[in-house]
Symmetry: C2
Subunit: 439 residues, 2 copies
């Protein structure tokens, strides 16, 4: 028989002490969990080290100057302002005491009855962390504005130098990793060089820039059907991207990359090759897979810690065919919803849910202007139709009419004019001085 | 008699070597000068240390999270992309060799026949430069995002602390200086606290925040008629701002300010009290006034250097009544246009222009939602009508339909919803950890 909590069942009788739920991380998973707890008789605390939720799938558009950070980010407090049972705290979490049931944060210890860790992932350099200085990855708003600065400064320095070899190096852009992020970045940089900046310079021709996409595996977009991978590769080549398949990067430095097929000098290198989970496994002393993800139970709880759940990019989860669930927004949201419902069920004495089951909705990636690949069940779209679908899907998933309207307007405007409105080099003081050549 | 250059007069005969014009600074003055030289038979180089032109009158809206940096900035190259006689360089200028007629830049020396220095101004702490760490001013995009971060973090920390005195301090915002920038900042912060954030927190009531505007002189907005100053003060008070007149700040530190009327503890202090000109006078060894502005001749050239012009906030210019020309966009643009025409006249052997004469078009300042003061000749507007005029005038002066449309949409949206969409705390890693109290 299932135990029932009479207080909660009666609805308006308030239990003496509400169970405390702490959620760490306000990405897709953590935010969805908080929203799902909306009307639950629980005291929810959502902790993130930033004050905003970022729509990561469009980060590459900030990195390539199409959108502004605020176009793809929302204050977490604002999203949850009407949800009275949630307190949002901006704090850094640096550990969990599973005995005392407390989370250690920069604001002090916070007790929990149920804990959801949704702390995401960072890019991983396969143990070569020194590469990060030369090949930044793209996970946070700050990463995106840094990459935007790198790309735009490369063109400025190329205009400022008189050394032809240096100019050629500065106008070479290397993207490492042929998954969705790498494909989208390479396509967008090609658009910036061939279209947006085409008329802006006097001494260089931005259209002569080399954009090189390097993938270690046998094809781009390995999670898509091979036909769509071939389409993406052809579309990138048409857009002016050099696609190098089956080639491994062996070193990154200040002036380019080494591969097992030779050296490529470059002014800008972008890392889209691998991610590693956040420190949740270490905080819990839990078993992790090779990418640092916590091996969770069928209900996404941590073995031996039934009150702690790990979701999103930090969790190692397989689907019903035994394949790993991808580190993307859809599974994170599904997991967030699932664990929130589990907690409600347990707190209110309702029956437990069936084990978590991931429903794969589809894969999307865009290659730039008028080209995208879409795989939704039996449906495969490419070209303009794919691009239109991709655009509408992303606008749909933005939060609130305001952002939807602004992003739709910017995309439409930029589509017609070939422009990108956010081409600002800010905080340039943080960078080394622009070149040393004489004009 | 006036000398004439026959080559230029004939129109299609090209002189052997085009005269070189170097413009330093792409603010309102420098940009207007470059645009005015559009069809002139001259070789123009426009140098700025940033890659964008910033619409400074709306910087306070970036600082208070209403607009994004890209909404009020345009790549300089983009603005001038169709103007073939202009080369834009992103470089730092650090001196002028008036003998050799060269500008020293981070890209090497650049020769000129005519030089326009439009290098603007920075905020000035009257010799107390150490105050800048605690009381940042508002001149650049980076200043605005820094102030935005300070304001938003103050609310976050107030939510995170349990010490009532510390909470009260964090919720106190001091703006020093009652000119247009100070009035606009104070009004906007009051709006953020009383409206935008009103529902976002659980432990603090943002509406209880103190916003304190301190002016050393006898009234706010000293360049406006006294009636409008009184209106502005009353409107600010209605919006919840404490206005302190005739009070001087004697010290700024990490926890607030001292005034000659006592101590004010504060979590955020913003400096809008004074500016000092850029280093142009020092570069030229020219005479400067107390604020570092170059004392220019009637044609805005530098005495003993007829080929060097100084314009905008860097020039000390008086109007026909002997009053100093204000350091704002309108005079800078008028000066830019004037010196560009002077250079065209000299380079093409046309008659010299009459001395520069500043035409004052008017003064505008907004106090927040539905209140502004406008003085245009005999016309004085306040309240909603003033606010409407202020909004339309600023949208009109933005560059390009894209920015006008986006800013108009955001203002309309935020007016209806009381929201501000750019409430992002970025680069928070650069700040000290948020508080040390326990929740």
């Amino acid at each position: 028989m299932i135990m029932r909590n009479d207080h909660a069942e009666k609805g308006n009788a308030v239990p003496e002490r509400l169970a405390k739920v702490v959620i760490v991380g306000a990405g897709f998973g953590g935010l969805e969990a908080a929203k799902t707890l909306r009307r639950a008789p629980l005291e929810v605390t959502l902790i993130d080290r930033q004050n905003f939720h970022c729509f990561q799938p469009l980060l590459y558009q900030v990195a390539t100057a199409a959108l502004s950070p605020a176009d793809i980010a929302w204050p977490i407090r604002y999203i949850l302002r009407t949800q009275d049972n949630v307190t949002v705290l901006m704090a850094e979490v640096n550990g969990v005491n599973t005995q005392a049931k407390q989370v250690h944060t920069s604001l002090g210890d916070i007790g929990y009855d149920y804990l959801i860790l949704a702390t995401g992932a960072r890019h991983s350099y396969f143990g070569r962390d020194g590469w990060e200085a030369w090949a930044p990855g793209l996970k946070r708003i700050e990463d995106a504005t840094r990459i935007r600065r790198n790309i735009l400064i490369a063109f400025e320095r190329a205009e400022g130098t008189t050394d032809p070899a240096e100019r050629e190096r500065l106008l070479s852009f290397v993207v490492i990793g042929g998954g969705a992020t790498g494909v989208e970045m390479a396509g967008a940089i090609a658009e910036v060089a061939r279209q947006t900046l085409a008329a802006d310079f006097r001494r260089i021709d931005p259209r002569s820039a080399r954009i090189i996409l390097i993938e270690a595996g046998p094809r781009l977009l390995p999670t898509f059907p091979p036909r769509l991978s071939r389409y993406a590769e052809a579309a990138l080549r048409r857009a002016g991207v050099e696609v190098i398949i089956g080639t491994r990067v062996t070193n990154c430095d200040a002036r380019g990359v080494d591969t097992d097929n030779g050296r490529i000098d470059a002014g800008t290198v972008i890392w889209a090759a691998g991610v590693t989970a956040s420190h949740a496994a270490r905080w819990l002393g839990a078993q992790a897979d090779g990418a640092g993800r916590v091996k969770v139970a069928a209900d996404l709880s941590v073995p031996h810690h039934p009150d702690i759940f790990v979701i999103g990019d930090t969790a190692a989860v397989v689907d019903h065919r035994g394949r790993p669930v991808p580190p993307t927004a859809q599974p994170a949201k599904q997991m967030g919803r699932y664990v929130a419902r589990s907690i409600i069920a347990r707190a209110t004495g309702r029956p437990r849910q069936a084990p978590f089951r991931y429903r794969h909705l589809g894969d999307l990636a865009t290659i730039g202007r008028r080209a995208a690949v879409v795989k939704l069940g039996w449906l495969e779209l490419t070209g303009f139709l794919g691009w239109l679908f991709w655009s509408m899907a992303h606008i749909y998933f933005l939060i609130g009419l305001r952002h939807r309207f602004i992003v739709a307007f910017i995309w439409l405007w930029d589509y017609i004019t070939f422009q990108r409105g956010a081409r600002l080099i800010t905080d340039a003081a943080a960078d080394p001085p622009p070149g040393s050549g004489k004009p």
